[in-house]
Symmetry: C2
Subunit: 300 residues, 2 copies
Amino acid sequence: MLTKEEITDWFKGLQDRICDSLEKADGGAHFEEDQWNRPGGGGGRSRVIRNGNVLEKGGVNFSAVWGKTPEAILKALKLKEADFYATGVSIVLHPINPMVPIIHMNVRYFEMTNGVYWFGGGIDLTPHYVDKADATHFHQRLKQVCDKHDLGYYAKFKSWADDYFFIKHRDETRGIGGIFFDHLKEGQQHSKDEIWSFVKDVGDTFVPIYTHFMTKNHDLAYGEQELQWQQLRRGRYVEFNLVLDKGTKFGLDTNGRIESILMSLPPLAGWEYNYQLVAGSKEAETQDLLIKGLDWTSHD
Amino acid sequence: MLTKEEITDWFKGLQDRICDSLEKADGGAHFEEDQWNRPGGGGGRSRVIRNGNVLEKGGVNFSAVWGKTPEAILKALKLKEADFYATGVSIVLHPINPMVPIIHMNVRYFEMTNGVYWFGGGIDLTPHYVDKADATHFHQRLKQVCDKHDLGYYAKFKSWADDYFFIKHRDETRGIGGIFFDHLKEGQQHSKDEIWSFVKDVGDTFVPIYTHFMTKNHDLAYGEQELQWQQLRRGRYVEFNLVLDKGTKFGLDTNGRIESILMSLPPLAGWEYNYQLVAGSKEAETQDLLIKGLDWTSHD
């Protein structure tokens, strides 16, 4: 039977493999690690890479925490007191070159002593400039991973990502989305082992997807205009993470380790009052594509 | 009898006078104005100054909006349906030179057709580097304004600012505070006219306070180290405004004019993972002063 220890160990290994692969693809900087303990139980390994050849700032976090289940969760689920155990890997990478997209990945497992459990996670991409071929490549890769496990997964989880990574007050998506899933547990169609197999495949697909963009786009030319636009897009990333992201909110509300929670914030972000897009510009083209419901897999 | 029209007109005039004085003190840039209408009723005049000699980005907003009172307010006050009218002036200024502090001011009036009304507002200062003499000057000016109206105001409103501008997840104050007050209405000690007189004095004290710092500190030397620290302090400003500020949250939740609400965000802000202060540095000295309860008025 699948145990939380087995899941935890696999996530630790995933963090190791991802950090190794990113260092190789970056070729310039190495991850630094901070180990931390949670007063209520458990802890984590936060790893950050800075000022590399490709990556300006990136975090690859592993954590496994446990203790009394927060009241809010028990209340929402109408459950009595129970202990919880939560483990996962969480990644945000901010590249130097505005032609390389920002990426986010998370895989996680949650269980309680009353037998309740679920998996969650996803991968989503935030290009500063949307390249349609790149977007199609990204979504096709995710669809392949999903299709291997359930032909209904991709459509469902893609739509979930569109909804989740939507910046309501800007009426725009954070990027071109990806897949997002939560509260995944055994049911009529899949056993716990099958869901775990899917989650592992999501974790394993991160490296080939992102190193592809690192390698392919890092040498593309850019100038002041592209850097300024990158800062504005990063500003929107900050807005999403601080105003809307549930994981961030949960972390801030429950006195999580601040430096690990806010590791996702960019090294430098900008805000310009009433920024005016020039019709027909690359920036305007990107802005027009920050909407829900685009079917990237069939794009030519 | 004091009417909402009289208050509104005075706020409009205050916006005009503040913009004129800031332009003169800046000597480089002029405010641009955007007039906007609110679908539910009312509108505003957003004014922004950019890339001046002293000010890198600043907003001075006037608004007067009305319509159906939001459910959340009625529920909190246990009141039945009523229309509301709200008007005020709101300011955030981000200077170029890290030795010049960020400043925020707000004066506002709210009333409902059921007779309920209140005033709110305040001024608070966020120095990138805390200069003790400047902090004392700032708080003494505020205390003078308060003392003119009520000898209990300063202590009460200073403490309120300490609590309001506290970044819980960082366990630090946003800056050196100032005064903050809300729900101020006539009572045993003051009539509505007297409170209005206090609010006007708060509004009028903004220009002498801030132009003093603009003039005095703008020529102070700074380098890369100071600019980097400025970006980090601005990052904290962003965290406060997006995670904690009630005005911002209300604006985002109620579909306010985004560009006016988020005008307060800095042109450029930074986040560094696990930034380590050097013991004895100017930065460490500032960080140590970002705590509640300091009595700046008596500092020597």
